[in-house]
Point group: C2
Chain length 137, copies 2
């Protein structure tokens, strides 16, 4: 049984990022959300309100509309949850200047989510984006 913060991270990755159901954003994400570190993410370093977060979800998912995350491990300490994950998605629209390849691509990454009470207020993330570019080349 996951703790409440771990359950929130699992729900974020499943409902919002895998299924694209942005209705859960208001339950999970604070009104002021900071992308502390996320190299390659267009929103790296930005502070988002919930509408901005929804825009990020929709624009990020668009090139890979069937994308899904599976969680490898979660560690929780104080107001942080670290999660390691695997991702896959079919490349249906241009991304980073690369025309759609219709290839199923795989990626891994690790994210530390910060909480204030029950809300997720930001993340620090690294993804293996070189692996994705090699699969698209």
């Amino acid at each position: 049984m996951n703790s409440a913060p771990k359950a929130s991270v699992a729900r974020l990755l499943q409902e919002v990022w895998s299924l694209g159901d942005v209705s859960a954003v208001s339950d999970l994400i604070a009104g002021r959300y900071t992308v502390f570190h996320d190299p390659g993410d267009p929103w790296d370093g930005q502070i988002l309100d919930r509408a901005g977060y929804v825009t990020r979800v929709l624009q990020s998912r668009a090139p890979f509309p069937d994308q899904s995350f599976s969680i490898c491990e979660m560690l929780e300490e104080k107001d942080r949850v670290a999660v390691t994950w695997r991702w896959k998605g079919t490349h249906r629209l241009p991304v980073a200047g690369i025309a759609a390849t219709n290839r199923l691509v795989h990626m891994t990454g690790a994210t530390v989510y910060s909480f204030e009470g029950p809300s997720i207020v930001g993340h620090w993330q690294v993804t293996d984006r070189l692996g994705v570019f090699r699969q698209l080349s």
Copy 2:
């Protein structure tokens, strides 16, 4: 004050990986060490004894002999420590087919170390290697 596992991770990143002092390997690393996941690392998926781990340190550090890691955050739960980090090093020897550029390059990554008792028995890691390749191109 760090817990013993966090202190071991801090010592591994400082003494072994930043300073290249492999004498600490026998204190910190188990006799059977698994590279569970580390895309781009030549030892990804392998099981190493201590001599193999030392070889990995020496060969990995050779292209960037002044490399250093700085820890951003550590989270500990059960037998795991997750660490997020920043890395920098000057590119002095060929790496991945790229001749020495003598550039100071930066990278970030996240690692989950697994413990058995006081010993580190393996890791799962993602690094922003695309960022490195862009700095070397």
